[in-house]
């Protein structure tokens, strides 16, 4: 609101795909008289209003809160999930980040585990299923001790909060050359591994969540770090390291359990 800059004209190459079964293609649109103070999604609103006026099908894109917290929106802009600005969702990206005359290619998240629903919308149900596999503390309603019964070091609480800030948008998957969901999964694993409440299920959790991640068809991490660079919430790849450590420990524990079970069966 302070820029009062000159309006922009842009060219958009937008991925259009009728539904999951149809083939997609790029279609070119002009976005004219765009205020630099508009958000990226408001720019798409303007383009869509114009398309409806011409009786053309508006571009379908996911969005909801438009304040960077719900994780619904997500579009790859010139190869970058959520666009060029660091730690910023597409809905919080403003047009002042672009130059007049810019040519933008807009695509959906591309990953085997995220089938396209329509145009820029994909199905991210796989992320929910990873959480359902173990991304929780098994505490039923009414079971809790007093909230201050367990002190938690401020530093642990802060680190847990850093990990918990993940909005589940899936940009990490879209950015990864392997379409890996390791940053997403490790953020939840880390949050709970850093807190005393998460300890009883710590190693079961990491095994179950990674197994689900694999079952969904996400790739593995090969340390590119693209996920962290694309993450709108600055989730650190050190969470992946923490998850890997826990996963190895969990495998050792599971191995030891199997050996013990074998011993007692033999005895």
């Amino acid at each position: 609101m302070s820029t009062n800059g000159k309006s922009l004209n842009l060219t958009l190459h937008v991925w259009r795909q009728k539904d999951a079964r149809s083939a997609g293609r790029f279609v070119t649109y002009e976005a004219k008289d765009i205020s630099p103070d508009m958000s990226f999604l408001e720019m798409l609103d303007v383009v869509n209003e114009g398309l409806i006026q011409k009786r053309e099908d508006p571009i379908a894109f996911d969005h909801d809160c438009r304040e960077g917290i719900c994780g619904t929106c997500g579009v790859v802009i010139n190869g970058s999930p959520h666009g060029p600005r660091r730690a910023t969702t597409a809905c919080q990206l403003h047009m002042r980040s672009f130059k007049d005359g810019a040519v933008l290619t807009l695509e959906p998240w591309r990953a085997k585990a995220f089938p396209v629903v329509k145009d820029l919308i994909v199905d991210r149900g796989a992320l929910d299923r990873i959480i359902a596999a173990g991304g929780f503390v098994s505490v039923g309603t009414g079971n809790a001790p007093d909230a201050n019964a367990i002190p938690i070091a401020k530093q642990s609480a802060e680190l847990a909060m850093d990990a918990a800030a993940c909005i589940g948008c899936g940009a990490c998957v879209a950015a990864c050359p392997n379409a890996s969901a390791m940053l997403f999964t490790s953020a939840k694993v880390s949050q709970l591994a850093l807190l005393p409440q998460g300890q009883p299920e710590r190693y079961d959790r990491v095994r179950k969540m990674t197994a689900q991640m694999d079952a969904e068809g996400f790739g593995h991490c090969t340390n590119h770090g693209e996920c962290e660079a694309a993450c709108p919430k600055d989730i650190s790849v050190s969470n992946i390291a923490r998850m890997n450590r826990d996963f190895i420990k969990a495998s050792v524990i599971a191995g030891a359990r199997a050996t013990r079970a074998g011993d007692s069966a033999a005895g």
């Binding site: 329509k118 992320l127 929910d128």
Partner: protein, 637 residues
């Protein structure tokens, strides 16, 4: 229609305990035979679905988002209240109860509010046990901050993302039950009609938003947790998808609508900056702990804020309300901002803004301390406005943020339709005419975790509920209504987009039914809205078809309902000839511009009954009695 609150008799601190004992129980082995339908997956919906599944009920949960984790509770920033008294500053359940009743300007039901305050304590325990990373002190114990309308520090928080963390806690509990096969989740499904059989809520008609397929889901009880209707103003802090369709369809089937005119206009939002704007963004009330609100003393003062000397600034909240200062309740702070701008002392483009200035706090505590508390909010402000709030004061203005009104419910959170329960922001229950900050999260979770799991059992154990066949005439009738409405939207093929109509409605509502209302304006709105609605049904353009993902069609259904609801809000505002909380009628104010209640004539809930198309709805009243928090003029001076 009879409004029976069913509040238990007896002393206020014993009511809930007594009621829990008196309610009937469903045998553990029988619980799985009862299917419960939950619509919405925010704090109220997710916590209710998870908790009822833990008890053994067969739960189905529906949300329009692609994942239950994205419900708009996630955007709540500042915190959640609980009467823990961890700060040793004199807090208690009774004080939280009293503050909430007073904050609501004595227009809430005492019994409900007391139960809310009582339950607040358990909520924090539950959330911590789930691994919600609340802010902590160096000793490892939980930290608190202050919020408006309270003189104690009872607000628990997780940076500026408290709603997100609480929702992710409830969502993780919900996902656990989904993984266990106890909850069947239907994302990208929108409820379009309730199904009533023998007058009882027995199911819903939903639309699969990907395939367009309509489907009826049947059960023994329905719980609506679909949030508020503040997007009626178009520009609001709500998510774009937030809508009133579920509660409005229920209203049209016989659920009374309580206090529709009670809307909250939040004082600290980023001001409107263009015609194209699609939403407004909140800057958390918690910022008022350290930020000072001011405008220039002089009208039309266009100097940069740093150029305006201290003695030429009007810190108007501190001046008018010295004991609460910048932490005056939201309705009061919003009105004061409007008054300053109406007086020609607003700042920024168009003069619709006031400063929220952190320079004192930064000087006192250092920039790092401020960054630790509010960093993400400052970043968000900078992203939107391209201004650095560490260097120049934020500019803020009020915006539609919450609705205290909603479907009328009794003490058991059941509407006037048997079996139709309503929880969270979707009901009218606990906040009276103004909600205090950090109380919405508390209410959503209280209803979902700790109240509905009990009261639903009482309903199920008290009723005889025969199985409803999928081809029951009432099911077919509800489906036919939905199909016909959809057909009509697609057949109009007019000239104006859905958004154009929504914006036009928003302008009418903001002008006539916003922060200040008067008889003339409301009467004008009651002319304009039906005319706009008429135009909508003649001239809206919804392209494409039903059998696909069709975002214009989704919006058309929602806006069609807002075009009816807006009229009811204006009617309610017109007939409540007093000012209370967020409902400010200009004709009823004190000499210094404060809300002037009329307890003789209006100490009641207004609950509206739908009377059929084209007929004026019927206004019923539920008298409010104040036996514990005695009626008094609200003062924050």
């Amino acid at each position: 229609m009879e409004l029976r609150s069913n509040t238990p008799a007896g002393p206020i601190e014993k009511k809930w305990e007594k009621h829990r004992f008196e309610m009937k129980l469903v045998n553990p082995a029988n619980k799985r035979k009862h299917r419960i339908i939950v619509v919405g997956s925010g704090l109220a919906g997710a916590s209710a679905a998870a908790s009822m599944a833990e008890l053994g009920y067969d739960v189905e949960c529906f949300c329009y988002q692609d994942s239950p984790r994205r419900a708009h509770s996630i955007a709540a920033q500042g915190g959640i209240n609980a009467a823990k008294n961890y700060q040793n500053d004199g807090d208690s359940v009774f004080r939280l109860f009293y503050d909430t009743v007073k904050g609501g300007d004595f227009r809430a039901r005492e019994g409900n509010v007391y139960r809310l305050a009582e339950t607040s304590v358990q909520i924090i325990d539950q959330c911590v046990a789930q691994g919600v990373p609340f802010a902590r002190e160096y000793g490892g114990l939980l930290a608190n901050r202050s919020f408006g309308g309270a003189q104690v520090s009872r607000t628990f928080y997780a940076r500026g993302q408290t709603g997100q963390q609480l929702l992710l806690g409830a969502y993780s509990a919900l996902e656990r039950q989904i993984g266990l096969g106890k909850v069947k989740m239907f994302p990208r499904h929108e409820m379009l009609e309730p199904i009533l059989v023998d007058g009882k809520a027995r199911g819903i008609v939903v639309r699969d938003m990907v395939s367009g397929k309509f489907e009826s889901r049947l059960g023994d009880a329905v719980v609506l947790a679909t949030g508020g209707y503040g997007s009626v103003f178009y520009l609001a802090t709500y998510a774009k998808g937030c809508n009133a369709t579920a509660i409005w369809r229920a209203y049209k089937k016989g659920a009374a609508f309580g206090n529709p005119c009670y809307t909250q206009i939040h004082p600290t939002c980023i001001p409107v900056h263009g015609e194209y704007q699609s939403k407004l963004t909140l800057m958390s009330e918690s910022l008022r702990n350290d930020g000072r609100i001011w405008v220039p003393k002089k009208q039309g003062d266009t100097r940069a804020p740093g150029q305006i000397p201290e003695d030429e600034r009007d810190y108007y909240l501190e001046r008018k309300y010295p004991s609460y200062g910048n932490l005056a309740p939201r309705d009061i702070a919003s009105r004061a901002a409007k008054q300053a701008c109406d007086d020609g002392r607003g700042v920024g483009p168009g003069g619709r803004g006031v400063y929220l200035d952190f320079s004192d706090a930064i000087g006192r505590l250092g920039e790092d301390a401020i960054r630790e508390k509010y960093g993400n909010l400052f970043d968000m402000y900078e992203r939107i406005t391209a201004e650095n709030p560490y260097k120049v004061p934020m500019r803020i203005y009020p915006a539609s943020h919450y609705t205290m009104g909603g479907l009328w419910v009794d003490y058991n959170l059941m509407s006037t339709i048997p079996g139709l329960h309503v929880i969270g922001e979707a009901n009218f229950s606990d906040h009276g005419a103004n909600r205090l900050g950090a109380s919405a999260l508390m209410q959503g979770l209280a209803d979902g975790y700790f109240i509905i799991p009990y009261t639903i059992g009482n309903y199920l154990a008290s009723e005889k509920l025969d199985k409803v066949a999928a081809d029951h005439p009432e099911v077919k009738k509800a489906e036919a209504e939905v199909v016909e409405r959809t057909r009509r939207f697609l057949a109009i093929n007019g000239n104006r987009t859905v958004d154009e109509f929504h914006r036009a409605l928003g302008r009418i509502m903001w002008e006539h039914c916003g922060m200040a209302r008067n008889e003339k304006g409301l009467e004008a709105a009651l002319q304009k809205i039906p005319a706009l609605r008429e135009e909508f049904w003649q001239d809206v353009r919804v392209l494409g078809q039903n059998e696909e993902l069709n975002q214009s069609l989704e919006k058309a259904g929602r806006v069609a309902d807002f075009l009816e609801l807006g009229e009811l809000m204006c009617l309610d505002a017109l007939e409540r000839r007093e000012s209370c909380g967020g409902h400010f009628r200009e004709e009823f104010q004190t000499a210094d511009g404060e809300a002037l209640r009329d307890d003789q004539a209006f100490c009641h809930v207004a609950a509206w009954e739908y009377a059929g198309p084209g007929k004026k709805p019927v206004r019923h009243v539920e008298a409010l009695e104040f036996e514990n928090a005695h009626l008094a003029t609200r003062s924050y001076k």
